[in-house]
């Protein structure tokens, strides 16, 4: 008994209790997802009983697979479309805002700085309700893709600002000043020095926005018009409790794989961008995991 206790709490050894907790947690967090992915390859209709391997729910089944079921297919298309649009709008908007907020020290900078933090901490349902009400009662914007995009950009932009601003602060002003000293105008310094140095952060932002958009349920659901603007999360939400086929798992799997590939790709590109720039490199993982404000 004593030996067991010594082994468990040896002051120089590894903290075994912590090791155990950590690995149990990791198993707990990942195994269910792995099982759900596994069942997307089930040959039968069950989501709980394994009936052999097939790709039927991806494309094999002529009516119920992700490829052929119009509802699933349109959800996938809408998700990807919104993600692309969200990236295209939020990232330029957020990069500009981050630049403005870090370099501008005027009286207006502070309120904007605070306002920018709000979307990060506002529960989604509050944002969703307010956007819905303002679109319907004041702006006269039709629910649907446009409304969904406006909503998604509103919460994505702040993440871009946080990521880009972090990098901007660690770059400091010295490179810009060196460029000006060497005869570059302010615009040239921005284009030739600052933007290339921000590239890793811009890339990380693109990926974060992609994931945020793909993952979003509440705002996107509140601002959707009809079946044609349903996204994958909406599809999962509305059919997960009913009698449904592993096609739903297949749909979710497609999104998971797309996101993880995008993140892995971003990570590789990030490393290439920052080759030789050790400080930026060390923060690669953390920037990718950029929810750490």
């Amino acid at each position: 008994m004593k030996r067991l206790r010594d082994w468990w709490s040896n002051p120089w050894g590894r903290p075994r209790a912590l090791v155990a907790v950590t690995w149990l947690y990791i198993a707990w967090s990942i195994v269910p997802i792995a099982i759900a992915i596994l069942f997307s390859f089930n040959a039968g209709k069950s989501r709980t009983v394994w009936q052999g391997f097939s790709t039927r729910w991806y494309w094999g089944d002529p009516t119920q697979s992700v490829l052929h079921d119009p509802a699933l297919r349109s959800a996938l298309e809408q998700s990807l479309k919104l993600a692309a649009l969200d990236m295209a709008v939020s990232v330029p908007l957020g990069v500009a805002l981050a630049l403005g907020l870090t370099r501008w020290h005027g009286p207006g900078a502070r309120p904007v700085n605070v306002l920018m933090l709000f979307p990060l901490v506002t529960p989604e349902i509050v944002m969703a309700v307010s956007l819905l009400l303002v679109f319907v009662t004041l702006y006269g914007i039709q629910l649907g893709t446009t409304a969904q995009l406006l909503g998604q950009v509103t919460f994505s932009v702040s993440y871009v600002v946080v990521i880009v601003r972090g990098r901007l602060l660690s770059i400091g002003k010295e490179y810009e000043e060196a460029a000006t000293d060497l005869g570059a105008s302010r615009v040239a310094a921005l284009r030739l020095v600052l933007l290339p140095l921000l590239a890793p952060a811009i890339f990380a932002s693109l990926m974060v926005v992609f994931a945020l958009s793909i993952d979003d349920f509440v705002v996107t659901d509140y601002l959707s018009s009809d079946a044609s603007t349903q996204t994958v999360p909406i599809q999962i939400y509305s059919s997960v409790r009913g009698t449904t086929t592993p096609a739903l798992n297949a749909l979710a799997t497609v999104i998971v794989v797309a996101t993880l590939l995008a993140v892995a790709f971003a990570y590789v590109v990030h490393r290439r961008f920052t080759a030789g720039d050790e400080a930026a490199r060390g923060s690669a993982l953390r920037e990718i995991a950029a929810f750490d404000v």
Binding site: L101, P123, E124
Partner: protein, 298 residues
């Protein structure tokens, strides 16, 4: 000289305008609806934009129902209980994991970080979907428990069980807590820990008197970061329980917005929720602003 002064503000302008148009004004729209009237014929909400003409009837009745024993009271108490327990659960799981990763993991650190980040990137509803598959009456959980004899017959995990909802909240939100905690713990200088040990504190008391106080900021920020969205969450509850018996504030609001005439009440409830969370938020904002003022090392 004017150009010099306008250069950077111009960069901030589009984003600032966006936030005003799509964050600030919409929030005002909620106020206008909550303090507005209801169309007598179509039963739709009629916003009142001028604060001097606001009607307080809806808000008054919502506040009345918030008194102990009334409908919303039950829902609010339940929400606080669920969020509180789930938060404690998240900390109980998240802190040791983040602590191990930051302080002790060496060769496996990169691998562990990747494994911890994966759930973070898997769509939230996909993760719920995964557990629902396992918790179905004929799912893996029930079958295993029956097989090893812990259960005589399948348990209805998804039939409105508060424990299932809390479990799902913990599972859903703990990844968002681990990363900020890890970031805080990772920043603590190892020298400080070594100094603690050197000064005669045991491993545990070093943890208690050095590491824990130094990570307080991270614990608070991380807790606020996950508590806020939990307060507005309705989808976890909907997919895991679906029963009014476990309904939280988010479910109540969602209910009012799905079905026609009650949007005014829903908007009033949103205001109540926002005010409640305002206190929590201001603390969070205060701490981030303070943290961002600390010198940045390149």
């Amino acid at each position: 000289m004017a150009r010099r002064g306008l250069f950077w503000p111009l960069f901030a302008l589009p984003g600032a305008v966006w936030l005003v148009l799509f964050f600030l004004i919409p929030f005002y729209a909620v106020l206008s609806v909550a303090f507005g009237t209801v169309d007598p014929i179509f039963q739709g909400p009629v916003p009142v934009w001028n604060p001097f003409d606001w009607h307080f009837t809806t808000m008054r009745s919502v506040l009345e129902q918030l008194r102990p024993g009334q409908v919303f009271w039950t829902v609010f108490v339940r929400t606080f209980a669920y969020v509180g327990i789930a938060l404690a659960g998240c900390l109980a799981i998240g802190y040791p994991v983040a602590y191990y990763l930051a302080r002790h993991a060496r060769r496996t650190k990169a691998l562990l970080l990747v494994l911890l980040i994966i759930p973070f990137w898997v769509s939230y509803l996909m993760r719920m979907l995964a557990w629902i598959g396992l918790l179905l009456p004929d799912g893996l959980v029930n079958r295993s428990l029956v097989d090893i004899g812990l259960l005589s017959h399948p348990h209805g995990w998804l039939d409105g069980q508060p424990s299932s909802v809390i479990f799902a909240l913990v599972y859903g939100y703990v990844p968002y807590l681990i990363l900020p905690l890890f970031a805080t713990l990772d920043r603590i200088e190892p020298h400080l820990i070594e100094a603690g040990l050197d000064l005669g504190a045991s491993r545990f008391s070093t943890f208690l008197h050095v590491t824990l106080p130094l990570s307080k900021q991270g614990i608070l920020a991380g807790s606020v970061l996950i508590a806020l969205p939990m307060f507005g969450d309705y989808y976890t509850n909907d997919v895991i329980s679906g029963s009014p018996g476990t309904s939280m504030i988010g479910n109540q609001i969602n209910l009012f917005f799905q079905g026609g005439p009650q949007r005014t009440t829903g908007a009033a409830l949103v205001i109540v929720l926002a005010v409640l969370l305002g206190a929590l938020m201001s603390y969070y904002l205060y701490s981030t602003v303070r943290a961002s003022r600390q010198p940045v090392t390149a």
